[in-house]
Amino acid sequence: MQLNESHERYWQKNLNITAMLLAIWFVVTFVVAYFARELSFTFFGWPFSFWMGAQGALAIYVVIIVYYAMYMGRLDEEHGVAEEMED
């Protein structure tokens, strides 16, 4: 089995998007929590960093996963590696 250039590009793009989403995940989790004291301005009643820990970060996690699923689904088709439904 020989990988062609399109395959290599597919994997590279996958690595890029994975790294990007992981960076977002890291920021909303660890960077926000690290500076939680500094980020505790009031946000609809919550201190902002409290709200991030209780709701904001969670919602962003869901968005990260859904975006990745959609992005990769499209990438699969563009590079001809999508699964065919078997008959």
């Binding site: 089995m1 020989q2 990988l3 395959h7 597919y10 994997w11 996958n14 994975t18 989403l21 992981l22 995940w25 989790t29 660890f30 929590a33 690290y34 939680a36 004291r37 505790s40 009031t42 946000f43 609809f44 009643g45 919550w46 201190p47 960093s49 409290f50 709200w51 820990g53 209780a54 709701q55 970060a57 969670l58 919602a59 996690y61 869901v62 990260i64 996963i65 859904v66 990745y68 699923a69 990769m72 689904g73 699969d76 001809g80 590696v81 999508a82 699964e83 065919e84 439904m85 078997e86 008959d87």
Partner: protein, 714 residues
């Protein structure tokens, strides 16, 4: 439920048409089921109004839900390997998401988490973030690739990718280690809830629950477990939401608690300031302080104090007898005498414990931190305050890390992504899983704040004879969960006079909100569903690791499918009984064991699995040594720092924390070490062969033309 029991001789060869018919069948069944369940609750509510007793409501809930799970188990019974191990690989993303949600959310999530948040405020959010953010790692690093690999278990992947039985064996050992500690905690939870619900003995409760678990996983394996978990998810989410929404309407007249509790939090924070300055609260704190000091004095001369205590108690008894006092006073004095510690060692432990308890309560706000306070200490204060702040923050971050990486490495969760029809569905399925988990997890902090508001504004300041009935009811069930004592004898409840256990917050919410008892029954049934669904998934993981990986792959590769499934079922029975036996001993520190499972899973599996997909050069020796090193250092750190484990292993050297990290987050050392060892050892030894390179390429692409490798086993 014909769709669920549909006979597919194995194989995932579904055309699009039959798949969509299957999906719409599922939609119909579960819509019907949800409606039926709500109708059932309404009928019970009407019966309660007509005079059905509380214990009957408890029994009806217990029998109806366990009967339902058993029914699904019987309808989905199977002996086909693909059906038994991976539910025929045709679980649509949405339903796999629900099943994973139920599989994931254990008794700890359902019952314990809101309580932890109530007691610790911001600090408890580490669990909320840790147990959801881990799914990002599952989605980005593991689920799609494991689905493409497409076998049955996690050790399967280790065995194939790292060429041999050594990595596979390590995988089996680690899978059993984390899953078994976890399943013991679930069965313990099942026993606890069954006891509450019906009043039967704890041990009987355990075995009743066990019957519910077994009839399902035993008959139908993954197929039965999957469809039961979907049903269990629906029950547990309905049960969690109703009381919170009601409480929110009662307090704010807005039915969406997640949106409005920020304002309740503001009011709680204001009240906290007032309570800190309240003279009556200070009085209670001073009394506890005095108690702690008195115990401290006694501990200075254990022998003398013990003799004095004994002499005082027996003198009092004799005086009472001499004065012909009423029988109950004499009985009380006799009890007091027999409660005096027998020897010095016992006195020392008992008094140290009592001193710690009094000290814990000799603090403002009953020892709880202010709810919205972020980290202890102060970054701008003196050196000590600075250190406290840094350590507190470091531990918060370390705990999030361990819980996240642990989530992405627990075999019973990863196994679920083998059951979807395709790679594409596996990716979507992680999204659905997190969405369904999110629904409960973003409600828990709201519940904690609303209950705190109720306690601060309604309970505190109430005269003791006017306290609501639920307080007396719950103190009777278990004083460790809730106890109120008028410490300063002013006849009014102060916050410091109330001791509340975390587990009560969810269980008592219906009563706090003034809902009928049927909702309390519903909440208990929800907790039961959470514990049973997780136990099912875990038992299956252990039984499969033994029957599939150990027996079929290593001992007898020629075993027939029927024989493998039969062996798995037998092992399931043995493991379940062993776990029930351990749970019946009521082992101490069960919560610690659950958290330990996360650190173990994180250190053992995560580096080897991720590098297995993303780094072709990782080889057998790197992975094996990396797993051993990661697990080893995690285990070593826990054994030398955690008091209960130190006792078991007889460690007496002084506790040395590394960078002040608590033992619960030991994985924070194991995971990086695991990665480092795999990389270094792999580079020092020979690269893996051509077939491994092909396997890695095979799992990286959902569909490769000309790919001759076929790992899919039906």
């Amino acid at each position: 439920m014909a769709g669920l029991a549909g006979d597919s001789g194995g194989g995932n060869a579904f055309d699009a048409k039959s798949m969509s018919a299957f999906k719409s069948g599922l939609n119909r069944i579960y819509t019907f089921y949800t409606g039926g369940f709500l109708a059932f609750v309404i009928v019970l509510a009407i019966l309660e109004q007509m005079g059905l007793s509380r214990s009957w409501i408890g029994f009806v809930f217990l029998l109806a839900t366990i009967g339902l799970y058993a029914g699904i188990g019987i309808m989905s019974r199977t002996t086909d390997a693909s059906e038994y191990y991976v539910a025929g690989r045709r679980v649509p993303a949405l339903y796999n998401g629900m099943a994973t949600g139920a599989d994931w959310m254990s008794a700890a999530s359902f019952i314990g988490m809101a309580g932890t948040l109530y007691l610790t405020g911001y600090g408890g959010l580490a669990f909320i973030m840790g147990w959801t953010g881990g799914y990002c790692l599952v989605a980005l690093f593991l689920a799609p690739y494991l689905r493409k690999f497409g076998q049955f278990t996690i050790p399967d992947f280790l065995g194939a990718r790292y060429e041999g039985n050594l990595p596979r064996t390590l995988g089996i050992l680690a899978a059993i280690l984390c899953s078994f500690t976890y399943v013991v905690a679930q069965i313990y939870g099942v026993g606890l809830i069954t006891t509450r619900l019906t009043g039967v003995q704890f041990e009987i409760g355990i075995f009743l629950g066990l019957a519910g678990i077994l009839v399902c996983s035993f008959l139908g394996g993954m197929r039965a477990v999957t469809w039961t978990q979907v049903a269990q998810y629906i029950i547990l989410i309905v049960a969690y939401m109703i009381p919170v929404v009601w409480l929110s309407v009662k307090q704010t007249s807005v039915p969406i608690p997640q949106v409005v509790y920020g304002f309740q939090l503001e009011k709680v924070t204001e009240k906290e300031k007032a309570l800190r300055e309240d003279p009556k609260e200070k009085e209670v704190v001073a009394i506890f302080k005095a108690q702690a000091d008195a115990l401290g004095e006694k501990l200075k001369d254990v022998k003398g104090s013990l003799e004095k205590d004994r002499a005082d108690a027996s003198k009092k008894l004799e005086d009472l007898k001499a004065a012909n006092a009423p029988a109950e006073q004499i009985a009380a004095a006799e009890k007091a005498l027999s409660a005096v510690p027998k020897d010095e060692a016992e006195a020392k432990t008992a008094w140290t414990k009592a001193k710690a308890a009094a000290e814990a309560r000799a603090k403002p706000l009953a020892g709880m931190p202010a709810h919205a306070q972020i980290y202890a200490g102060d970054p701008n204060g003196d050196q000590k305050a600075k250190d406290t702040y840094d350590t507190s923050r470091r531990n918060f971050l370390a705990l999030i890390f361990c819980l996240m990486v642990g989530t992405a490495a627990l075999p019973h969760i990863l196994m679920r992504y083998y059951t979807t029809p395709s790679v594409r569905e596996a990716r979507a399925s992680v999204g659905w899983s997190l969405f369904f988990i999110f629904l409960l997890y973003f409600t828990a902090p709201a519940l904690a704040v609303l209950v705190k508001y109720e306690v601060f504004h309604v309970l505190v300041g109430t005269p003791f004879d006017k306290l609501p009935a639920w307080i007396a009811n719950w103190s009777k069930v278990d004083p460790a969960l809730l106890s109120v004592v008028d410490i300063n004898k002013d006849g009014i409840l102060q916050l410091g006079e109330m001791r509340i256990g975390g587990d009560i917050v969810v269980l008592a919410t219906p009563e706090i909100a003034g809902l009928p008892y049927v909702i309390s029954g519903l909440v208990a049934a929800g907790g039961l569903a959470a514990a049973l669904s997780t136990a099912d998934g875990l038992l299956l993981t252990i039984a499969n690791a033994l029957s599939h990986d150990l027996y079929y792959k290593m001992i007898d590769p020629n075993a027939s499918t029927g024989r493998r499934v039969a062996i798995s079922k037998a092992l399931l029975l043995v493991v379940a009984l062993a776990a029930a036996y351990v749970a019946a001993q009521k082992p101490a520190d069960i919560l610690f064991l659950v958290s330990a499972a996360f650190s173990f899973a994180a250190a053992a599996f995560f580096p080897a699995l991720v590098l297995g997909v993303f780094w072709k050069r990782a080889n057998k020796w790197g992975a094996s040594l990396g797993m051993i090193a990661g697990l080893g250092v995690t285990f070593y750190y826990m054994v030398t720092t955690q008091p209960w484990l130190r006792g078991i292993f007889g460690v007496t050297s002084p506790i040395e924390l590394w960078w002040g990290i608590q033992p619960i987050s030991a994985g924070v050392f194991g995971v990086p070490l695991g990665f480092a060892v795999i990389i270094i050892v792999s580079l020092l030894t020979a690269a893996p062969g051509r077939d491994v390179q092909e396997l890695v390429e095979h799992v990286r692409y959902p569909n490769l033309k000309g790919d001759t490798l076929n790992t899919q086993i039906n």
